[in-house]
């Protein structure tokens, strides 16, 4: 029974994932006084790309074609590990939080290899930046997870976001709030949003994520776009999971809370994009170290209690 609700919540997330970047863009446009693309733009784009044909550069090899599939597969795997319905995930085992982090890292690795495979210096530069920044984002994510493990005593994502989290809010709300902020900063960095990367820019020198996928086209580009949207949804689900422990809620309400939470996260991302500019590249590590500092502070708060 439980697994069925996990399945249909996963289905819900898979369907609404492309909505989130659209919502973020719409919010940003609205804040900056423009009309902006329709909220459903990514669905249209995916439909259009699906009907097109892929073209490949002569310098590319199978590594280049592997990336789009790897990106979607790893994002899907990560989504299966997160308890989307607030109770249990489809796949759960002790230590699955490490699998979660490194599944997403595997997707990024495949994408970076594909960028290097094209032999373009711009894509190589973007790959280098992507890897550098993810190095700084990883400690923040793991410190946040470690704190949740300490609070709930469970080494599995399903346990971390389960009943135990609800009681943890009563004991150490400050630590959990710090983790939530830190997770939001990691979300911005991992999903290539402002202030780390600007999804709207199309100048090769400033792009990070966008520049890596310049050579992809047709359905493969569609897969990468969908994979990125799904990754945003998965991180959003983590954030909603921390902020709103849904284990005690009845089933339809828990799924509704997740959907509503994801929409709010997307709007928050849009607000950040509307009110601030992208950081200079040299400042980005500092931004991510700040995220790690917040998570570390939360760890200390819990550890010496």
């Amino acid at each position: 029974m439980t697994s069925w609700t996990a399945v249909w919540t996963l289905g819900l997330v898979l369907v609404i994932a492309p909505l989130l970047p659209g919502l973020a863009t719409k919010t940003k446009s609205w804040l900056t006084g423009r009309r902006g693309a329709p909220v459903l733009q990514l669905y249209f784009d995916l439909g259009k790309l699906w009907r097109k044909r892929s073209t490949y550069s002569r310098t590319t090899t199978w590594v280049f074609r592997l990336a789009p599939v790897a990106v979607v597969a790893t994002a899907l795997g990560a989504a299966c590990l997160v308890p989307l319905d607030g109770r249990q995930s489809l796949l759960r085992f002790t230590g699955d939080l490490v699998a979660f982090a490194y599944l997403l890292a595997l997707g990024r690795f495949a994408l970076v290899l594909a960028g290097l495979d094209t032999g373009s210096s711009f894509e190589g530069m973007g790959s280098s930046r992507e890897v550098t920044f993810s190095t700084f984002a990883e400690p923040a994510l793991f410190l946040g997870f470690a704190t949740l493990v300490l609070l709930t005593g469970s080494l599995s994502l399903s346990g971390m976001f389960g009943e135990a989290l609800f009681t943890a809010w009563g004991r150490s709300a400050a630590a959990l709030a710090l983790i939530a902020i830190s997770l939001f900063l990691v979300l911005l960095a991992e999903n290539a949003r402002v202030p780390v990367d600007d999804p709207a820019t199309h100048l090769e020198l400033t792009m990070i994520h966008e520049v890596i996928v310049l050579d992809h086209s047709g359905p493969e580009l569609g897969l990468i776009l969908y994979g990125s949207a799904l990754k945003l949804a998965v991180f959003g689900a983590l954030l909603v999971g921390v902020l709103v422990p849904r284990a005690a809620l009845p089933q339809p309400l828990a799924a509704g809370a997740l959907a509503g939470g994801l929409v709010l996260v997307a709007i928050a991302v849009g607000v950040v994009e509307g009110v601030m500019a992208r950081l200079r590249l040299i400042r980005v590590p500092q931004f991510l170290v700040a995220a790690s500092v917040l998570a570390a502070l939360a760890t200390f708060l819990v550890l010496w209690r």
Partner: protein
């Protein structure tokens, strides 16, 4: 010492990190003003029973630390026409990492200190962390204004430590400390102004060029 005091203390730590991490002097001053306001609110959140002593302590330190001193620092940077901390001895990212280490040390040390009964668990670690981070800002920053901010952080840490026995410290002692700090910052403000007029910069590294 309910959750509100804990929240205030966590926010105090965040302002510490804000000061260590920013390169803008105005942000630095805004953070120290915010910290002053939080420190003013703390005695109210910590105490079980209200008294004139506690209220006066809270209001007095809030006014001096979040209005008067920041106003003075703002005037100093306006007159010296500086905006940014350019070349700290230790970079901003490294300062943040060292600040985290400071928090870890503070939590570790606070465990071993014999403290009066009924002290908030977070109060002493946050006080120690603020003192250490104040030292860090005081010693590694080049601009005189940031050093003054570091000095204020240091003093705020000592004030926090004093809150562990706020019920017993005589009011006059508190007022005396507050006055000391005020005078110190007042003098530093004038010094900043004069350094700037003599050297066209408030970078204290240039003070080594002093000769007659």
């Amino acid at each position: 010492m309910g959750p509100s005091a804990d929240l205030l203390l966590v926010l105090v730590t965040l302002t510490d990190f804000m000061i260590l991490g920013t390169s803008r002097l105005t942000t630095c001053i805004r953070a120290i003003a915010l910290q002053g306001l939080l420190l003013g609110a703390l005695p109210l959140a910590l105490t079980q029973r209200w008294s004139l002593h506690i209220a006066a302590l809270a209001i007095g330190s809030a006014i001096v630390k979040s209005l008067v001193l920041p106003w003075f620092l703002r005037r100093a940077i306006r007159e010296a026409a500086v905006r940014r901390e350019v070349e700290p001895q230790i970079g901003f990212t490294m300062s943040l990492v060292l600040g985290t280490a400071a928090v870890a040390i503070a939590f570790g040390v606070a465990q071993r200190l014999p403290l009066p009964e009924g002290t908030s668990e977070l109060l002493v670690p946050v006080a120690l962390a603020t003192v250490i981070m104040g030292f860090l800002a005081l010693t590694t920053r080049a601009k005189a204004v940031t050093q003054v901010v570091g000095y204020l952080m240091l003093e705020n840490g000592i004030y926090l430590f004093g809150l562990t026995s706020a019920e017993r410290v005589p009011f006059l002692v508190e007022v005396g400390v507050l006055l000391d700090v005020f005078v110190a910052v007042f003098i530093m403000g004038i010094v900043v102004f004069h350094i700037n007029r003599e050297f066209d910069s408030i970078s204290s590294t240039r003070l080594s060029e002093l000769r007659d």
